[in-house]
Symmetry: C2
Subunit: 145 residues, 2 copies
DNA sequence: AATATAAACGCAACTTTGTTGCTTTTAGAA
DNA sequence: TTCTAAAAGCAACAAAGTTGCGTTTATATT
């Protein structure tokens, strides 16, 4: 589907320039319900785009609150679009993520409220919480291994 | 302090050979209350040890249940010693971790019970949970930035 | 429409983390 | 003492990400 006007707004809103690469990147995030790494993006875009450009765009999108880090491991950092980008959805600042161990996809569980956990607060001051649930997603569950 | 007999037992128990490198590695884990990556280990051991040897030892220790992955990100995989190594402590299979954003150290919160969260189980089947609390550790809190 | 400029792009080079294949050394059992 | 699997060492490679620097371009302003 065509989200071009939506994407244009999103870029303009943050004072970012509308370029082919950045528009294509954002439409990837909009059209997928799972998080994407730089390599995921390169894989899905037509070839010939410099990796550096993708990395810098991701950094810029994160700084501007368009994307957030959904998962981070040795395979790379996966980003997802922030829910507050959609005018009709509230932003879940701290939400859980689900990571499928089969396909390595990471999904945002925007509706899952993060439980508050007591930790020895004389030793640590808490900043944020990363709650990632690992398992198998529905698609892989039905797949012959 | 000297843990050599403890370390010897630990290695023998798993049918692993007692070598200089592996003993030194284990004593690092015992004498630090935070998780260590391959690079952390190399930094703390006297130079001249092959990185590959460290990586393979870490893998072997994890397979044998001596170490577990405490955190994993772009900076590397950090391992911590499993609590059930100590005869007088029970093993907390699923425990939370604390990661200091200043010094990048990861601590095992063995006493923090993992909160159980409801997720749409028609979409996902849960396997395990990663609960990592980010913030500032006590040491860095008192440090002038 | 022309122009100025900051943002974005592209290229080369580099770093860090980790892996694989293969050979040599060695701990510890027989 | 001998034997052997485990551990160590070396070379080469790969993936993810970063930095510096010069070029191009979107867009605001004239």
């Amino acid at each position: 589907m065509d989200n071009s006007s939506f994407i244009n707004d999103m870029l303009r809103e943050h004072g970012l320039k509308k370029t082919r690469i950045r528009s294509e990147m954002l439409s990837l995030f909009i059209n997928n319900n799972f998080a994407l790494s730089a390599s995921d993006i390169i894989l899905r875009m037509k070839a010939g785009n410099d990796r550096v450009t993708i990395y810098r765009a991701l950094a810029s999108f994160e700084e501007n609150g368009i994307l957030h880090k959904a998962s981070e491991d040795r395979q790379g950092i996966k980003y997802a679009i922030c829910e507050n980008q959609y005018p009709d959805k509230k932003h879940s600042v701290q939400h859980a993520h689900f990571r499928c161990d089969e396909c390595q996809k990471t999904f945002c569980l925007n509706d899952v409220v993060l439980p508050n956990v007591k930790i020895p607060n004389k030793d640590f001051s808490v900043n944020r919480v990363n709650y990632t649930i690992h398992g198998t997603c529905n698609e892989c569950k039905d797949m012959p291994r």
